[in-house]
């Protein structure tokens, strides 16, 4: 009799527990490429955020910078019947159709960092490169007391982040006496940045600051200046602020500042959970960005207004 009692309790508690766990969700994450550390970090942020919710399983796919492969990955997610899709598209136009298909089939789609065309997605999460460039420009104006000779090492100028980080910066320094004396396209790559910086150093005997569109390029520029024995006479400022890159360079005293370009990975997981719970989410989420300097990096940077 007692045995029956116990077993009844056992089965009841098991069913209760499994009842709680019965609703698990599979989420497909399509990343356009994992060649960039920033995107590796985005996936890591998603993985970490999802790990806190045992009901979530995330399947990652890497499109290796190929629009058509990314399209195929999303089609696979649709066929597999995932509960939600996260996508950081390579390009807008080639991926708009497949994102629309998923969305119209009732699968929530969260688009991260780069956009798709039209309105057929659940939510877009991204940061504003132009705003970051502008804030960086203003910060540099203040830091240099309104005047100085600047070297700008640009990211790929055929990409929107490169264009926005450039034009935002120019807006930020407008009206000051900061002058860009040398600019070059380093295509986001550190060895290129070092090479271009060496040319800038050969040509100009006075440089007050180097603005690089990403942190590895700022690091490359610092290496060039150090080889010339001139790293102390100028400031190095970069963008991205990844924990293992920009923030580390700031801590080591290599960069004067790194402006964060948040990945949105954590926010994407939070947004997906809200959608799956049936809550309404905003169509567009603009991520706040932080600036890391030597003074504030240990306490996690300051949020840009």
């Amino acid at each position: 009799m007692k045995l029956l009692h116990v077993s009844l309790w056992l089965s009841l508690s098991i069913s209760l527990v499994s009842g709680q766990d019965s609703r698990t969700y599979t989420i497909g994450m399509s990343q356009c490429n994992l060649g960039e550390p920033w995107r590796v970090q985005m996936n890591a942020d998603i993985r970490r955020a999802a790990a806190e919710h045992p009901e979530l399983t995330v399947v990652f796919k890497d499109a290796q910078n190929d629009n058509l492969r990314q399209r195929a990955h999303i089609e696979e997610f649709i066929r597999a019947g995932v509960d939600a899709i996260l996508v950081s598209p390579k390009e807008a136009a080639p991926l708009t159709g497949v994102v629309r298909d998923a969305y119209r089939k009732g699968i929530p789609v969260i688009v991260i960092d780069r956009r798709v065309l039209g309105e057929d997605y659940t939510s877009f999460i991204g940061a504003d490169n132009r705003k970051i460039g502008r804030a960086l420009g203003k910060w540099l104006v203040q830091r240099l007391g309104g005047r100085g000779m600047i070297v700008e090492l640009k990211g790929l100028m055929t990409s929107t982040p490169g264009q926005d980080r450039h034009s935002g910066f120019r807006e930020g320094i407008k009206g000051s006496e900061l002058e860009v004396i040398f600019e070059a396209d380093m295509k986001w790559l550190e060895p290129n940045a070092r090479k271009e910086m060496e040319s800038a150093l050969a040509r100009f005997s006075r440089i007050d600051a180097v603005y690089a569109h990403n942190d590895p390029a700022a690091h490359g520029a610092w290496l060039a200046a150090r080889a010339a024995g001139r790293e102390k006479e100028m400031l190095f400022v970069g963008v991205d602020g990844l924990p293992h890159e920009g923030q580390v360079y700031v801590r080591q005293g290599i960069l004067a500042a790194s402006f964060e370009y948040p990945t949105g990975g954590k926010e994407a997981v939070e947004t997906v959970l809200r959608v799956l719970r049936g809550e309404k989410v905003p169509k567009e989420i603009t991520l706040p960005s932080r600036v890391f300097t030597r003074e504030n990096v240990e306490k996690g940077g300051d949020v840009l207004e």
Binding site: L34, G35, E36, P37, V40, M157, F182, E183, A184, D185, K187, E190, P191, R194, K195, E196, E198, S199, A202, R203, G220, L223, A227, A228, P243, H244, E245, V248, R251, Q252
Partner: protein, 331 residues
């Protein structure tokens, strides 16, 4: 009476290969003298920096020369470079190994990758293009795996996410330094040493003669009793070994091992070999020509860079000048 183009061809045919490549280099240098960017081109520092920038490519190009002369091609050099850069950095920075041991591990890995490609090509008759393409993808994967997808730097992340900072190892600082009164980068010395070793192999050893013979006519080489298979494995193995040397130099200069390093470096290395005048058909060419090819591309990039030429113009001009240089160097 011969027409002008014919006479021009005739003139070039009479020049030895080195003189032809040298002529192309001279053209590039004259362009530099015209567009000297406020005199920057006439300072030794500009040339010293150019040589440093080209050294890693140059080391790859030396290995590529051996392979191309033997009638092959090696597309895997950039990926093997990244793998070896990561391994060297892991050994020295993260595991605290002495530099010679970490370098030995990197050289072993590089040589092994090359030998595997070589075996696939020589023993299993896979086309060099395909075998080394497979190795290019595979080695990149291994580089990402062992590094965890992150740069191996002096900031070491613990399991709790916090960072521990170690000082930059002396071996990295040494590789990034300059000698002879600050006038020549260490990596440039490494490059020139590799070039001399490869020149010696090609022109003074039995192995070198076999590489030319196999590249010229593989069947004839085989019929005359040459060990064709093992020679080919050796050629790719040597290329892999030089990739490791390049990888160690790359890590030293970046003060970190980047698993994404070396993307598309194989194209630059092949371009350097071909612009020098070594043909893709195999059986002819030399390391001396490759060194001239390295200088042509190096000066070209440097001249465009010190003049801060825009990216679009740079790409177009590079294309045009490569074409002109090859037409000069062509027999």
């Amino acid at each position: 009476m011969a027409s002008v183009p014919e006479r021009w061809r005739d003139l070039r045919r009479r020049l030895p290969g080195t003189a032809q490549a040298g002529l192309a280099l001279a053209v590039v240098l004259i362009v530099g003298a015209f567009f000297h960017a406020e005199g920057s081109f006439f300072e030794w520092g500009t040339h010293r920096d150019m040589l440093r920038q080209m050294s890693v490519y140059g080391i790859l190009a030396c290995g590529m020369t051996l392979v191309i002369i033997a009638g092959g091609i090696d597309l895997s050099v950039g990926s093997i470079l990244a793998l070896c850069a990561v391994l060297f950095s892991l050994g020295v920075i993260h595991w605290g190994w002495p530099a010679w041991l970490a370098a030995g591990m990197a050289l072993g890995a590089g040589g092994l990758c090359g030998a595997v490609s070589g075996t696939a090509i020589a023993r299993f008759r896979v086309q060099p293009f395909i075998a080394t393409l497979a190795m290019m993808v595979f080695a990149r994967g291994v580089a990402k795996l062992v590094s965890g997808g992150q740069k191996i730097s002096t900031a070491i992340q613990g399991s709790d996410g916090s960072y521990e900072y170690v000082p930059t190892p002396a071996s990295f600082e040494m590789l990034n330094a300059r000698i002879f009164g600050d006038n020549v980068a260490i990596v440039t010395i490494v490059f020139l040493t590799c070039a001399v070793v490869c020149w010696f192999i090609l022109s003074r050893t039995l192995l070198g003669r076999r590489l030319y013979a196999i590249g010229g006519n593989e069947e004839a080489a085989w019929l005359s009793g040459m060990p064709v298979k093992s020679t080919k494995v050796l050629a790719y193995g040597l290329s892999g070994l030089l990739c490791a040397v390049a990888g160690i130099c790359q890590a030293g200069q970046e003060l970190q091992g980047d698993p994404e390093a070396g993307v598309a470096y194989e194209l630059t290395a092949i371009a350097m070999v071909v612009i020098g005048g070594t043909t893709l058909r195999g059986g002819e060419g030399s390391v001396g020509l490759t060194v001239i090819g390295v200088l042509i591309i190096g000066y070209l990039e440097k001249i465009l860079s010190i003049n801060a030429v825009g990216e679009e113009t740079r790409l177009m001009l590079t294309g045009v000048i490569i074409m002109i240089a090859v037409m000069f160097a062509r027999k």
